[in-house]
């Protein structure tokens, strides 16, 4: 018995040793390839220049992006772009902060629009304006409203890439069944309420409207009234010191939701956007607000006809338009010049009309380059899915102002969480006044704290 045990133990030891040496061999191979890459960067003539690209596109977006990266890699033989998925924007940014300034930092990172200020403050990025100037690249060919967001005092810090705006999705079949005109979707808060009532009357199992508790949507509903999120012109002329909207503007959204909650026409999906979309696809709710980036997914998966409409606004206010959402690409500082130039070449490739058309059609994001809409792929897709065009029209109908340029500050992610909590309070029957006042207090405190942390 003891002998058998001894043999067994010996076997285990050998097994572990084998595993150990396997690991070592792998590591050795890794460092060998790393070394090879290092030399290739040095010589640069016959070997490919490697560019590491961190992104946060999951699902359909990732497929579309990988296809574009592959097409770039095969279109020339000097640069090899490695696209690496790094989780959500938040997660990618956290990872980036911990490797910034080291060799593990990527060449390009995709970051969401509200990370703009933290990226500039981080000091580890190279403003693309320098490359634009050196190369004589013309940025004015790109969509004006998108450029407005990403240019600060006439300087471009990052290259816009995937941009979207919020739109209202609605179920055309349900509209028809409720005796509403499916081609004339509601435009104002009040019309949305009326339509919701009609929907619920026609079909008791279906709710009228859903608003995900998502701070971004709250910001958009503010901007659509021409309201600022932060003072000092949304933080574009000076560092903000407090909120920028008036009580009337801020409360109108809460009161709108409260009225629908009281009418029992409101579907509460909390902060979960996926649940909301699947509820819509299952016919549990007839209208919801969401980024236009989901439009391709929703249209393809719905068993009914999907309509897409402009973001609603309060009746007594003019529609001011929407703020561009989404993300942009940042060039990381401190890389060898050859690598930076290769990355810049890839960024320019992404802005070409053909690639932008493919990207727009594959996802529902905008084409950064308006010339893309004249490409055959885009024309065909718009003919087949006219809904895709609505998002483009809405952006082009936006009047440019500080409100629709969007806010810049590093505390916006925290501000979003605060508004989400306030919205959820109202969804669950809380008092609008309490929820609103608490949220405003917390929002102002967050701004103060963020300013204090910078030592200002």
């Amino acid at each position: 018995m003891k002998k058998i045990l001894a043999i067994l133990m010996l076997g285990f030891v050998l097994f572990l040793a084998a595993c150990g040496s396997d690991g070592n061999a792998d590591e050795a191979a890794d460092s060998a390839t790393a070394g090879a890459e290092g030399t290739s960067e040095g010589s640069g003539d016959n070997e490919k220049q490697v560019v590491t690209f961190w992104h946060s596109m999951g699902g359909a977006g990732q497929e579309a992006l990988n296809a574009i990266v592959d097409s770039y890699n095969s279109s020339q033989d000097e640069v090899q772009v490695n696209a690496e998925y790094q989780g959500s924007y938040d997660e990618a940014l956290t990872k980036f902060n911990s490797v910034a300034g080291t060799d593990s930092a990527p060449t390009i990172i995709q970051t969401f629009e509200i990370g703009t200020m933290s990226m500039i403050n981080s000091g580890s990025i190279l403003p693309i304006q320098e490359l634009v100037d050196a190369d004589g690249y013309d940025m004015s060919g790109l969509e004006e409203n998108i450029i407005n967001y990403y240019s600060l005092d006439g300087t471009f810090y990052s290259m816009p890439f995937n941009s979207s705006t919020p739109v209202m999705y609605y179920n055309k079949d349900a509209f028809e069944a409720a005796g509403l005109d499916p081609e004339a979707p509601p435009e104002t808060f009040e019309e949305v309420e009326e339509a919701s009532k009609a929907i619920v009357e026609a079909n008791l199992d279906m709710k009228g409207f859903a608003l995900q508790a998502y701070g971004w949507l709250y910001e958009q509903l503010l901007a659509n009234q021409g309201a600022l999120l932060l003072n000092n012109d949304n933080g574009r002329t000076d560092t903000p010191t407090e909120i920028g909207w008036t009580e009337e503007e801020g409360k109108s959204i809460f009161e709108w939701v409260e009225r629908m909650v009281n009418d029992e026409t409101f579907a509460n999906y909390g902060t979960n956007g996926d649940n909301m979309v699947s509820g819509f696809l299952a016919g549990d709710v007839s209208m919801f607000l969401q980024s236009s980036a989901s439009s391709r997914d929703v249209i393809d998966n719905a068993p009914f006809e999907v309509g897409i409409a402009f973001l609603p606004h309060p009746e007594e206010k003019e529609r001011a338009g929407v703020v561009i959402g989404g993300a942009s690409l940042w060039m990381i500082d401190g890389k060898p010049e050859a690598e930076t130039n290769a990355a810049w070449d890839f960024m320019k490739y992404l802005q070409t009309p053909e690639i932008q058309a493919e990207w727009h059609v594959g996802t529902g994001y905008f084409a950064i380059n308006p010339a893309a809409y004249d490409e055959q792929v885009a024309v065909d897709a718009h003919e087949e899915m006219p809904q895709l065009n609505v998002t483009v029209e809405q952006l082009q109908a936006t009047t440019s102002s500080f409100a629709t340029q969007g806010a810049l500050m590093d505390m916006i992610p925290e501000g979003r969480k605060i508004m989400e909590t306030a919205l959820e309070t109202v969804y669950n029957g809380g008092e609008v006044d309490d929820a609103y006042n608490t949220a405003v207090d917390q929002f102002n405190t967050a701004i103060e704290q963020a300013n204090a942390a910078r030592g200002e």
Partner: protein
């Protein structure tokens, strides 16, 4: 006289020598012991003690987005923390959560372990099933429960509708969400707790039961007088570990509710994560982490002080 004096002189000399040898021996033993401990001391220092010290240091500062310290604020992070209604709510939810999950997990697991300890045909199958949740990752289990909790298509609400009750907003109603997370957590923890308790039951000497049988003791009498006391070391271990785990719950919250609705499931570890990696306020996140450390330390200390008295070691 001279003999005497030499004797007196000699005695302290040999005593000193003896002391020295003893000291030398102790030093040798000590360094030998340290040598054995060295690997774990190095590992602990790098991965536990240094981060701990760093966290305490950070908790006195404000930081920028990269986590570098900018302004020294002293105790201000702690003051803000104790006056913030969001954080106080988060502490309250955490304690409620511990109260919901720990006793129920242990009672269910103990029940399952006791019935799975019977010698029946095919008992291996049941043991495997009962411990199977151990093999499911937190992420996979959470996604599975996310589907069960779906407000309109989730099986739980469909079931409620089928019996004529109205559906519950499991993850969207603030009064239900913590409960829903607790159910998920209990389900996930049962596997591990069951396995440990079953192991404890199997190691109880069968002669105790045999002599109890001869004395004519009933099933429940044996359970109360033999099984539970003999199982107490295992139970003590399980209670301690489950409480610590409950305080550190993160994965299921991140996937199911992200701290919502209305911060009702914003348990303390999730709150730390949000402060640090969403709001980039590493200072106040560190202050919260220090507090959590103190609370868990206290809880564990109290358990060892009072709980262990009732533990019967073989």
């Amino acid at each position: 006289m001279s003999m005497n004096s030499t004797a007196i002189q000699q005695t302290p000399k040999s005593q000193i020598n003896f002391e020295q040898v003893k000291k030398k021996q102790r030093m040798k033993n000590f360094s030998k012991g340290m040598l054995f401990l060295l690997p774990s001391i190095v590992l602990f220092s790098v991965f536990l003690f240094y981060p701990l010290a760093r966290t305490i240091y950070l908790s006195f500062f404000l930081t920028d987005a990269a986590g570098a310290t900018t302004v020294f604020v002293g105790w201000e992070n702690y003051v803000t923390m104790f006056t913030s209604p969001i954080f106080l709510q988060s502490m309250k939810s955490t304690f409620l959560f511990v109260l919901y999950t720990v006793p129920i997990t242990i009672i269910i697991s103990l029940f399952l372990a006791v019935i799975a300890n019977e010698k029946l045909k095919g008992i291996g199958f049941f043991r495997t099933i009962y411990s199977s949740t151990m093999g499911i990752s937190v992420a996979a289990a959470s996604v599975f429960w996310l589907y069960l909790f779906h407000p309109s298509m989730g099986p739980l609400n469909l079931l409620l509708n089928a019996i004529g009750a109205e559906g519950i907003g499991w993850l969207t109603d603030p009064s239900w969400a913590l409960f829903a997370i607790a159910i998920t957590t209990i389900w996930m923890n049962i596997g591990f707790t069951f396995l440990i308790l079953l192991g404890g039951l199997q190691s109880i000497d069968s002669s105790l039961y045999e002599s109890a049988d001869i004395d004519g003791a009933g099933y429940f009498y044996k359970l109360r007088r033999i099984t539970i006391p003999m199982l107490s070391p295992t139970l003590f271990f399980v209670v301690t570990v489950t409480i610590i785990n409950a305080f550190q719950t993160f994965g299921q919250i991140d996937i199911l509710t992200q701290g919502g609705p209305v911060n009702s499931t914003n348990l303390v570890v999730y709150s730390i994560y949000r402060e640090a990696f969403v709001n980039y306020k590493f200072g106040s996140a560190s202050a919260q982490a220090v507090l959590l450390f103190i609370i868990i330390l206290l809880m564990t200390f109290l358990q060892f002080k009072f709980g262990e008295r009732k533990v019967h070691y073989q």
